[in-house]
Subunit: 121 residues, 2 copies
DNA sequence: ATCGAGTGCAACTCTGAAGTTGCACGTCCA
DNA sequence: TGGACGTGCAACTTCAGAGTTGCACTCGAT
């Protein structure tokens, strides 16, 4: 059924303010990126240093660090010619909370459905 | 520094038993897939019914549901010619717990580093 | 002033995921 | 039993992102 002109308030689709949690999920989805993140968590360091311990090039690590920074999982501080990356746990906590809340919502709905089904018997 | 032959136990890299949490993260990374998941959570239904409320084809929804099922986030039960998909909250809870634990590890490490830095002054 | 180390930027390749279309198969119902 | 509905399978297209390479730039030290 094509959207008829008679339904103006049909899925208004607001600008979608770009949820930061989504960035975290995307950042954590890639295995190499998780390895980079682990490396940073195991001790802050430069992109070059991190790349030395991984089977990928420095540039690949730099790109991954950019994604992680966009997600707020790492922060970069420049000292001289070096850029030191450090881990930042807050986005992880926020994401975890969101997932827990979502699971709770589902649980509630499932409980309601089950209840209705039992009542119907 | 390339791995010298003198370090046989250097990153032994076991078969990597394929962490189910990784599947959850991958499943949640895609926006369309999140929409599909939301639709299933908002009331179980068939792939065709779910696709009707989304701007993608049924086949796309089917593929997304397969990924979600691999992650354990939905379960499919066949009744006659219909396949009913239902949401399953447990993997979400598990994933959330893991993220929280990881954040705690980072916090501990950061606290230690800060402590040492203060002690050094 | 110069050289090495570290970073930043840009162009390029390439694989896999997302999505589509088309058709065949099974199931419910008149 | 025939048709409508729902699903399953397969081939195909498209595109973002993961990765590489090469080079220019900056900072620190000699």
């Amino acid at each position: 059924m094509p959207p008829g002109p008679g339904a103006p308030s049909d899925t208004p689709q607001p600008p979608a303010p770009h949820d930061p949690v989504d960035d975290v999920l995307v950042a954590l989805a890639d295995p190499t990126r998780r390895a980079v993140l682990d490396a940073v968590a195991g001790g802050p360091g430069s992109a070059t240093a991190i790349a030395a311990g991984l089977p990928v090039s420095r540039q690949a690590v730099v790109k991954h660090l950019a994604v992680l920074e966009r997600a707020g999982l790492v922060v970069a501080t420049r000292t001289g010619r070096e850029v030191r990356y450090e881990v930042r746990p807050e986005p992880l906590t926020t994401t975890a909370r969101r997932l827990t809340a979502l699971a709770a919502t589902w649980d509630a709905r499932l409980a309601t459905i089950k209840r209705i089904a039992e009542q119907r018997d």
